[in-house]
């Protein structure tokens, strides 16, 4: 979409006004700084998804809409998770982070902060795997998506 003040609120407003749910929403400028790219995760039957796409396309600030679920794609999310890591659980946390290919990016005497990237379900699985180890805080970015294969998302000319 156009990298303009208000573009994001138009999208968010559309979802709330029409009662569509937003599971996650992630937006940042692209290489072309007049554009920003939003990855939005929503749920609905075929007809609702079709309406959502049409309604998004109607927004003047939206340049292009692509339904990632239509084709093979990669979904990634970043999670920063701070867990209690005391004497007895320090090793266990370290080991679990290894298994899930997380990185410990901050350490204190009673905690580890782990950075982890993956599809949402993998991040969920890690949180589950922590079991009884107390979680202090979780921050998740929301999903980002990109199509598999050589082709990129083309932007229409003015």
């Amino acid at each position: 979409m156009e990298n303009e003040a208000g573009a994001l609120s138009r999208v968010a407003g559309l979802f709330s006004a029409r009662g569509y749910n937003i599971e996650s929403l992630c937006v940042a400028p692209t290489v072309d700084e007049t554009l920003s790219r939003m990855t939005l995760v929503t749920r609905g039957d075929e007809q609702i998804i079709e309406q959502i796409i049409k309604q998004l396309n109607k927004l003047i600030d939206v340049v292009k809409v692509q339904d990632m679920a239509d084709a093979p794609h990669i979904e990634r999310e970043l999670m920063l998770i701070k867990v209690q890591a005391q004497e007895n659980s320090r090793n266990e946390v370290y080991r679990l982070a290894e298994i899930f290919r997380g990185q410990i990016i901050d350490v204190s005497e009673s905690s580890y902060t782990i950075q982890m990237v993956g599809p949402g379900h993998k991040l969920d699985a890690f949180v589950t795997a922590l079991g009884a180890i107390p979680v202090v805080e979780i921050v998740r970015s929301g999903a980002l998506g990109i199509a598999r294969g050589p082709r990129g998302m083309a932007v229409p000319e003015a």
Partner: protein, 594 residues
């Protein structure tokens, strides 16, 4: 430099006596934001702005004041300004232009903007804003105009730099008038129109947006598929709506229906797109549609939807809607297609272009292919028509509202511009004033805004001073924008107000009678003013008509006063209902008839 001086100097160099730019000097002339805005309006061919001044737009008003090409109509309430511009737009097909101040000026305009949005009416609404340096400070008369109007506009802009005014206005007009039309708000902070800041002015000849490319031409394959379905129909029905009027395609629609000899119904917004007096016309459909139109919908095998959006007032219970039909849908907005009703052959494009492409195909195919089935279908329709669902009982000297509308039709020879407010009177106007031409029936369908009728009528009258303009209203609705009677006097806009005064919020009362066992909660209009004196105090003519036998004479007398606004207060049957009616949850074949 002191402000007045700078301005005076500028108005001397490069401007003629009327404040128009001298073209030869255009390149050299530097203009302020206010002047640029006015020049943009001129470049777009705008002849009138409906508005109301205030602090944030004073620079713009000053620029308007110093020229004569763009007239300004001073309303009495900003809602009135938007409805006037809206009426003007609906009658002429050109965008209406509004100018209001920040804060309360803008919030007062919101109802009008939402009204236009729901009915896809092209408007440019310029709202003043506090200076850019104060935005976000809870400054005097600050509201987030862009935020407040976002859900009820086609698009909106905040212009933060004088250099962006021209391109933004160009985009605004382009967006408002193309594709599915709609209102565009342009919010302009006061410093952006400061007369001390001047820049060279150049209005872009055209504009293109990478994210906005409305589809005009229909997909050829889809059109062929549709034609195949259409010409082979046995029980066809054409259901057309406001899109035909917005798209100026009434001639094409008429040709289409005639070529096929298919029955046609119009939505409330589509009335006039097909001549009501024509044999093939079945009347309006939907909640208060005719028996024949609704039965035709229910039993058809091919439904051809043209510029209509399957509104819930039209479909009734979706589960029971057109159970046996294959549906073709032509609409310029892909989001209108398969939104409420899933259709079989969608065609995205403008009605005009798509119908023009269809007509020769139908001709080449030799027209409709099922003449026998069609004859039987017309015979069935004739039986439904025999129910005479719009007949009403008269009762001595009690004035029946339907009768008043019929008489208005007779006296104006069915050729007036008729606006209405919202309620029973609106439905009676729609049912009993047969519109033979498009753009003549002007009402708020989507939002259903009481208060729309009078200002809309004034907007129409401003556009067409020589045409007869009638506002059919109720004693409830008229009081929502009655202050515009004053505007009517100031600008000499002699419309005729036909008030069907039933002393009730009649539409509300009807629902209470049907669905709340007659508990008339707050629907009786007590303490009504003396409308005759009220009209007179505004400088107009007032008439009160109490007997059926006086209706025709009063109307003739009123319409003979070509030069005066006449307010006719008809004391109508308080308990009359609008029939037929499809109650909530019912199918179109389940009408209450009398």
């Amino acid at each position: 430099m002191p402000f007045g001086l700078a301005l005076r100097r500028k108005t001397q160099a490069g401007f003629d006596a009327f404040g128009s730019i001298n073209l030869k000097e255009r390149k050299r002339v530097e203009l302020s934001g206010g002047q640029i805005l006015v020049e943009c309006l001129k470049a777009e061919g705008v002849d009138a702005v409906f508005g109301y001044p205030g602090g944030a737009v004073l620079h713009i008003y000053d620029a308007l004041f110093q020229q004569e090409q763009v007239k300004h109509i001073l309303v009495r309430h900003e809602q009135g300004a938007v409805h006037m511009a809206d009426g003007y737009a609906r009658a002429t097909g050109k965008p209406g232009v509004v100018l209001v101040t920040s804060g309360p000026g803008a919030t007062n305009a919101v109802t009008g903007i939402a009204t236009a949005h729901m009915d896809s009416i092209p408007l440019i609404v310029i709202t003043g804003q506090v200076p850019t340096s104060l935005i976000g400070n809870d400054a005097f008369q600050e509201v987030d105009n862009v935020g407040i109007t976002r859900p009820c506009v086609k698009h909106n802009f905040l212009v933060k730099d004088v250099r962006d005014i021209a391109i933004t206005m160009k985009k605004a007009f382009y967006i408002a008038t193309t594709g599915r039309p709609g209102p565009v708000v342009v919010d302009i902070p006061k410093d952006v129109t400061d007369p001390r800041v001047t820049i060279p002015f150049d209005y872009p000849a055209s504009v293109s947006l990478r994210s906005y490319h409305p589809t005009v031409k229909g997909h050829t394959g889809q059109i062929r598929k549709a034609i195949d379905l259409i010409i082979n129909a046995e029980r066809p029905m054409i259901y057309s709506g406001g899109g035909v009027i917005l798209g100026g395609a009434s001639a094409q629609l008429t040709r289409f229906a005639r070529l096929l000899n298919y029955p046609i119904t119009n939505t409330l917004m589509g009335l006039g797109a097909y001549p009501a007096s024509d044999r093939q016309f079945l009347g309006m459909l939907g909640m208060h549609g005719t028996y024949e139109a609704n039965m035709g919908m229910h039993h058809c095998d091919v439904l051809i939807a043209i510029g209509a959006r399957f509104d819930d007032r039209v479909t009734g219970n979706l589960a029971k809607f057109c159970p046996t039909a294959k549906i073709v849908h032509i609409d310029i907005d892909p989001a209108s297609i398969s939104k409420n009703v899933v259709v079989d052959v969608p065609i995205v494009g403008s009605v005009k272009s798509v119908l023009e492409e269809m007509l020769p195909l139908i001709e080449d195919a030799g027209g409709a292919k099922q003449p026998e089935a069609l004859t039987a279908w017309w015979a069935q329709i004739a039986q439904w028509r025999d129910m005479r669902c719009l007949d009403f009982k008269t009762n001595g000297d009690v004035i029946k509202p339907q009768y008043v509308v019929q008489k208005v039709w007779e006296i104006t020879q069915g050729d007036a511009y008729v606006t209405s407010d919202v309620g029973q009177h609106q439905m009676w106007a729609a049912q009993y004033y047969g519109f033979d031409k498009p753009n003549r029936w002007i009402n708020s369908g989507g939002l259903g805004t009481m208060g729309f009728g009078l200002p809309a009528a004034l907007g129409v009258k401003f556009a067409y001073p020589d045409e007869e303009v009638v506002c059919v209203t109720g004693e409830g609705s008229i009081q929502m924008c009655i202050q515009e009677l004053s505007t009517a006097l100031q600008y000499h806009l002699p419309v005729k107000v036909v008030s069907l005064n039933n002393r009730y919020l009649g539409m509300v009362r009807q629902w209470q009678e049907f669905f709340y066992s007659g508990r008339y909660a707050m629907s009786y209009m007590e303490a009504l003013p003396d409308f005759v004196k009220l009209a007179e105090s505004y400088g107009h003519v007032g008439m009160r008509i109490e007997k059926a036998s006086d209706v025709e004479g009063a109307l003739r007398e009123a319409f003979a006063m070509r030069d005066r606004l006449v307010f006719m207060d008809f004391q109508t049957d308080p308990l009359e209902n609008v029939y037929p009616m499809v109650p909530a949850g019912a199918g179109l074949n389940e009408m209450i008839l009398v």
